[in-house]
């Protein structure tokens, strides 16, 4: 018996491939009709990762070099849940980000802002049994890009999450509350549902702040959930 399929995306909460405001989509979005894929055993299973592959130190981006990175230390933590509200345990979460000055440690990034020799900007975590993850990092800077005149990306952290099924695989970005650049950003504004967008904005997290050390932000991620009711019984 194949386990139940995953729910299809809710209207207006996931982007289309072609979104001309984000110019790079024009030459990369498929143009032919997509083929609707039933969820077979191949789609409801996914790679399993172990705690031997992800070390506790992998989640502290401020301790990967000899010195301390520049910038404001922050805790970023949250839970990974599915659409049925169940925690998603033991899944790999990978993050990467710019440094405090808005520069990536990557040869393609030519933004005229300093690199930080004490900051790589990559972290990993395996969610615990309740779906929790936690990173220590520094607040990333905003940076310009060439999508349109005077284009700036709001501060963000890239997230890659595996799920328990291939259909739960998700790559997204976490934003910061109150960022004035959000409304101008074609990536953040790529879906019509305003509530869906706003769920990509982390919450200021007073309770997880570390006194005299670091402020905190909370970012919960929801992966697709299984159909609860067998299709045949639906009205």
């Amino acid at each position: 018996m194949t386990p139940a399929p995953y729910r299809r995306p809710y209207w207006n909460t996931q982007p289309e491939y072609l979104f001309p405001k984000y110019a790079s989509t024009v030459k990369r979005a498929p143009t032919q009709p997509l083929v609707v894929l039933p969820h077979t055993l191949s789609e409801v299973t996914a790679p399993v990762f172990g705690y031997d592959e992800v070390k506790p130190a992998d989640s502290d981006l401020t301790k990967q070099h000899k010195g301390e990175p520049l910038g404001e230390r922050i805790v970023v933590s949250g839970r990974v849940l599915d659409e049925n509200g169940r925690p998603v345990p033991n899944i790999l979460v990978e993050i990467w980000q710019a440094n405090a000055a808005g520069r990536y440690n990557h040869r393609v990034d030519q933004h005229d802002a300093p690199l930080d020799p004490n900051f790589t900007g990559a972290g990993r975590f395996l969610t615990d049994k309740d779906g929790h993850y936690r990173f220590m990092t520094i607040r990333p800077g905003e940076y310009p890009w060439r999508n349109h005149h005077n284009a700036w990306r709001p501060a963000h952290i890239h997230f890659s999450l595996f799920g328990q099924g291939l259909m739960q695989r998700l790559v997204t970005q976490m934003y910061f509350p109150g960022d004035p650049l959000l409304d101008y950003d074609p990536m953040f504004t790529c879906v019509a549902d305003e509530k869906a967008r706003n769920r990509l904005i982390s919450l200021f997290d007073w309770e997880n702040a570390m006194p005299e050390y670091a402020l905190a932000y909370r970012f919960d991620v929801v992966l697709r959930g299984r159909e609860e009711t067998p299709m045949e019984n639906r009205r």
């Binding site: 996931q14 997509l34 191949s42 049925n84 393609v108 900007g121 790559v171 990536m187 990509l200």
Partner: protein, 187 residues
């Protein structure tokens, strides 16, 4: 409780920072049973140019047709050292590569067996959500009865089937647009 899945966002141009630590191009270590296959290919955009900043991920069953996952409860052997996951980041020529074993057949809709296939997930700058497709194997008699290939218009099926190159490797390209555009799924 009913929540809505988080919105997908592009992986952006700097994916290497976060993903390079786990490039797995040799999916099947020595000693894993099965027919050895090498797959080479390129990701090509709508201008015919190589996509040099894509991540290509593979998920596959073992040679017996079983996934290394707790929800695959088939009574078939599992190999401890075969996870079935691969990740290749494309180079300046848009090229990716995998060395693995040909998977066995796994059940599909209605209990019908599927032909051997690799699931392929592709991320890149310019994609607000990832692409999902499959690679099937050339000259496999099971392809004609595969329930997923059967959903694809006949004239486009070949875009999901690898070609045997002169040096016995398999070649499969992800063509994002235009003539010979690869079939991608609404998943």
């Amino acid at each position: 409780m009913s929540l809505r899945a988080s919105t997908s966002q592009t992986i952006g141009p700097y994916l290497r920072i976060g993903l390079e630590w786990m490039q797995i191009e040799d999916i099947a270590p020595k000693g894993v049973p099965g027919e050895r296959v090498s797959i080479r290919g390129r990701v090509i955009d709508g201008d015919g140019k190589p996509v040099n900043d894509a991540a290509v991920e593979i998920w596959q069953a073992n040679s017996h047709g079983r996934y290394a996952h707790p929800d695959d409860k088939q009574d078939k052997p599992l190999e401890r050292n075969f996870r079935g996951y691969g990740r290749s980041l494309t180079d300046e020529q848009g090229a990716f590569r995998f060395n693995t074993i040909k998977p066995g057949r796994v059940p599909g809709p209605g209990g019908k067996l599927q032909a051997p296939h690799l699931t392929v997930t592709i991320f890149m700058r310019g994609l607000l959500k990832h692409l999902q497709t499959r690679i099937y194997f050339p000259d496999d008699p099971a392809n004609v009865e595969d329930p997923i290939l059967a959903l694809v218009p006949v004239e486009r099926r070949s875009t999901m089937i690898a070609r045997r190159a002169a040096d016995a490797t398999l070649e499969w390209n992800a063509v994002l647009q235009g003539k010979n555009e690869t079939v991608f799924f609404d998943f």
